[in-house]
């Protein structure tokens, strides 16, 4: 049994799996259920001035018959009175003292209002705060959420409002709806944040109903852009987490958020620089019970690799990401098709023929299409492997070029020195 205990900027939890501030953490009832299921921590549904919500609020992106590869929402922060939320936070903390409860906060950028809110929530017994500078819909129109998160100077200022009112760790949750998230993370660090969490949801529209031409979701025939999350956003989140993890001006831990559905996703976030992860869409899809396999799977993974603590994963592969100019131009791989497992669907052939470099030869023998890679011309792009429906049927094999590694940077430098 590996040690899964987690410490994010002093906020301790028995495992690195937290619930993100979202519908699953809306009430004490839900948080109790989540803790019973095994979640290590929760970030409570954002507290602030209670709002009024609309119906409907969510829409899912389905791919073929797979529902919810993406989820869009136009729900706002808590619609329940602050006192009610604080009472429930107290009860949850009492029932589960070993779990982390983080209070997510949203307020207009006024110092006194922030002080008041921070102190009230601190009194309920939270372990830390997360400032919601990410919510991209509704609240941003009122000068909150991503309206703050899109301006580094505002991020720094408002972060400092919260930080100066408490001794507890303050996490700043960032919006991805910006050009370079590092500027926002740096501002949070300058403002005194103990950690950053990312990503909040991405501006999105799910679609239009082809019968009625109503947007999806719609409120009495109209809609506004919502926030997009779920498995489809994971690659965007991973990149942003990693960019901040490698940035010297972001010397604080990162709580990774964005499309994490299982322990494998979580391991990837940790390896690329996150200290823990937050989950929402997968729970909205399947319920709190998914945490059981998240902890079990992570445990078995660590045991199988002889790793004693989950925290050893944090950032372990983050520096394998670099800039393009540092990649080895002399590394060469080519595709190989295993004839024993090939099912002759010709997906690789048509993909290479129409969309890559015409490097798969196809010969129909006795009615069966035989597919062979032209290794001399294969550029090693991976496309054929990606479209192949049979696992490990197409693999990419390294070819010895006999050339020493050379990056673009080295190549251009060498060319410059010869002229």
């Amino acid at each position: 049994m590996a040690d899964l205990r987690n410490d994010l900027a002093g906020i301790k939890s028995p495992n690195p799996f937290w619930l993100a501030s979202a519908p699953p953490t809306n009430s004490g009832y839900q948080v109790m259920r989540a803790f019973e299921a095994g979640w290590g921590g929760v970030v409570w549904k954002t507290l602030g001035d209670p709002i009024v919500n609309v119906t409907s609020r969510f829409a899912g992106l389905n791919w073929k018959q797979n529902p919810l590869i993406g989820l869009n929402n136009i729900e706002l922060i808590t619609d329940r009175p602050l006192d009610e939320n604080l009472k429930e936070i107290r009860e949850c903390k009492k029932a589960f003292p070993d779990r982390a409860i983080v209070g997510s906060l949203m307020e207009v950028p006024v110092r006194e209002k922030w002080h008041e809110l921070v102190k009230a929530v601190q009194n309920a017994g939270v372990d830390g705060f997360e400032l919601n500078f990410g919510c991209p819909h509704g609240m941003s129109e009122r000068g909150m959420g991503s309206a703050v998160g899109q301006q580094p100077d505002l991020i720094e200022m408002v972060t400092s409002y919260a930080v100066e009112a408490t001794e507890l760790p303050v996490i700043v949750k960032l919006t991805p709806n910006i050009t370079d998230i590092r500027h926002c993370a740096r501002a949070a660090a300058r403002g005194g944040a103990a950690a950053v969490s990312m990503i909040n949801t991405i501006n999105s529209l799910i679609g239009v109903d082809l019968e009625t031409w109503n947007p999806i979701p719609h409120v009495d025939g109209k809609s506004s852009h919502g926030g997009y999350c779920g498995p489809a956003v994971k690659p965007i989140a991973l990149n942003m987490v990693n960019e901040c993890a490698r940035d010297a001006e972001v010397p604080i831990p990162i709580s990774g958020i964005g499309g994490i559905s299982n322990w494998q996703d979580a391991v990837e976030f940790l390896l690329l620089g996150a200290t823990n992860v937050q989950v929402c869409t997968a729970v909205m899809h399947h319920g709190f019970r998914i945490v059981e396999d998240m902890t079990d799977g992570l445990n078995n993974y660590l045991d199988s690799r002889g790793i004693e603590t989950a925290s050893e994963l944090i950032g372990a592969a983050q520096n394998r990401i670099t800039t393009w100019e540092n990649l080895n131009l002399n590394y060469k791989i080519v595709a190989e098709i295993d004839q024993a497992t090939c099912i002759h669907c010709s997906k690789c052939y048509i993909a290479c023929e129409d969309a890559a470099h015409q490097c798969i030869d196809r010969n129909v023998v006795d009615g069966t299409a035989m597919l062979v890679v032209d290794a001399d011309h294969c550029v090693g792009c991976n496309l054929c492997m990606m479209v192949c429906p049979v696992e490990d049927c197409i693999t990419m094999a390294e070819i010895e070029t006999g050339l020493p590694p050379q990056t673009w940077k080295q190549r251009t430098a060498a060319l410059a020195s010869t002229t």
Binding site: S346, T368, A369
Partner: protein, 448 residues
């Protein structure tokens, strides 16, 4: 020539369903899951395996995008008999047998998906095709079964006027009359025929060539004649007692059952002689009509049965009994069948394909009240000789373009199926209808 009423105007008889259909249609959810499971192979093996080369990946992809009308168009463009083929094709041997998933997973349920797409246009009354610009040429099609309908459909798309001469009351041949209703509904077969008729095909039903109209009249009145008259009745067994009541031709038997006509009292034990797909239909039909015991008797072994494996399995599940290596020698009874005397048979051990021989002294008697012979079909030699077209063993001789030996006369369907060659399947007949239509069209074009 008086124009007859279109066949669709004829009243549908109230036909019994003879129990649950073998294959129920897929639910909407099953269809979505299955359509999305399809890999959308390039130059897909299923398409190659289909005698009519339906672009299966394309029609399934269209189901997945909700384009059911487009899906049905892809199917029916390639195969005018797409509705019946979805139900009667031996898909395990054809498209589904070729599916790339067969190796490691379950093949895509292509037949069921095809049925779903075609049922969509059937249930919603959607017309997919319009006749071509009138060419002024006239084609006679002798026989309104699958091959004749397929040819007529494409000839109408080419713009030629088409008249179908059909001996029976209804079109679509064995689809209508010869396939058990729990495999293919009567109304599906007639709907399919109606789609062809709706393109402006003149139908002369209950009109036999050589009886009601001479072949020479056809050849004079039309620019081209296509012979697609299929085959005849099941031949006699050639043993004593065949004229007793209770002895049936399997096709007559199935037809009567399908149309809800009386078959009298089948008794407790029904014997079916033969081991092909029609035999299976007769066996299962008799069982579903209430016979307590239904037994198949075959002069060869299980391995030599010509019925498809899945048909054999189906018959087993229906409670049919099987007796191999025995042949009937005498049907016994006074007025009505009461027993059949059989003799054991064996296949000589010597090399080569051998006919079974009877084992002397091995006779045994089975008490049966009904005997159904299902040992193939006769050839319509009289029709062919009257038409002046050459045959080989009763099979009309055609070239690759399905031209007979007589100028201006083509042939397609069961009447050109030679034993040991391609199988007599609806889907083969459909493909031949397409080929013959193209061949006739080329001839008429050149003759302009």
């Amino acid at each position: 020539m008086a124009t007859l009423e279109p066949v669709g105007a004829l009243a549908l008889p109230e036909v019994p369903q003879l129990g649950e259909p073998i294959h129920k249609p897929l639910s909407d959810l099953e269809v979505k899951l299955e359509a999305n499971r399809c890999l959308y192979c390039y130059d897909a093996p299923c398409m190659r395996a289909c005698p009519t080369h339906i672009d299966v990946a394309s029609f399934i992809g269209k189901i997945a995008t909700g384009n059911l009308k487009g899906s049905a168009r892809v199917i029916l463009e390639a195969n005018p008999l797409g509705a019946s083929c979805a139900r009667v094709c031996p898909t395990e041997e054809l498209c589904e047998g070729a599916c790339v998933y067969k190796k490691d997973d379950t093949p895509i349920r292509i037949g069921d998906l095809q049925r779903y797409a075609v049922d969509y246009v059937r249930n919603n009354g959607i017309d997919l095709f319009t006749p071509g610009r009138p060419s002024g040429r006239r084609v006679a099609v002798v026989g309104g079964g699958p091959a004749g309908l397929s040819a007529a459909r494409d000839l109408r798309l080419f713009g030629h006027a088409v008249t179908i001469f059909e001996a029976r009351e209804q079109l679509n041949g064995l689809n209508t009359y010869g396939i058990v209703p729990f495999r293919l509904d009567y109304d599906v077969a007639l709907w399919e025929a109606q789609q062809v008729v709706n393109l402006g095909v003149e139908v002369r039903a209950k009109t036999q060539i050589g009886v009601d109209v001479s072949f020479e009249t056809l050849s004079q009145d039309f620019d081209a004649v296509i012979v697609a008259c299929g085959m005849g009745n099941v031949p006699k067994l050639g043993i004593p007692g065949e004229n007793l009541s209770g002895v049936w031709d399997a096709l007559d038997f199935i037809q009567r059952a399908k149309l809800g006509k009386s078959l009298g009292n089948l008794g407790n034990h029904v014997a079916v002689i033969g081991a092909g797909n029609t035999a299976i239909d007769a066996l299962t039909c008799a069982k579903r009509l209430g016979a307590e015991r239904v037994t198949m008797y075959y002069r060869r072994g299980e391995d030599q049965m010509t019925a498809y494996e899945f048909e054999y399995e189906f018959a087993k599940q229906e409670g049919i009994e099987f007796r191999f290596f025995c042949a009937p020698v005498k049907i016994v009874g006074e007025g009505h069948v009461s027993a059949v005397e059989f003799v054991r048979t064996e296949i000589p051990k010597s090399a080569g394909k051998q006919s079974p021989i009877q084992v002397a002294g091995s006779e045994f008697v089975e008490m049966v009240e009904t005997v159904i012979r299902a040992i193939g079909q006769t050839r319509l030699r009289d029709v062919f000789s009257a038409a002046g077209i050459e045959t080989v063993d009763g099979v009309v001789k055609v070239d690759e373009q399905l031209r007979t030996t007589r100028e201006g006369v083509w042939a397609a369907g069961d009447c050109i199926f030679a034993k040991g060659m391609r199988e007599a399947m609806v889907v083969e007949a459909a493909e031949q209808g397409k080929i013959v239509a193209r061949s006739v069209d080329a001839f008429l074009g050149a003759a302009h």
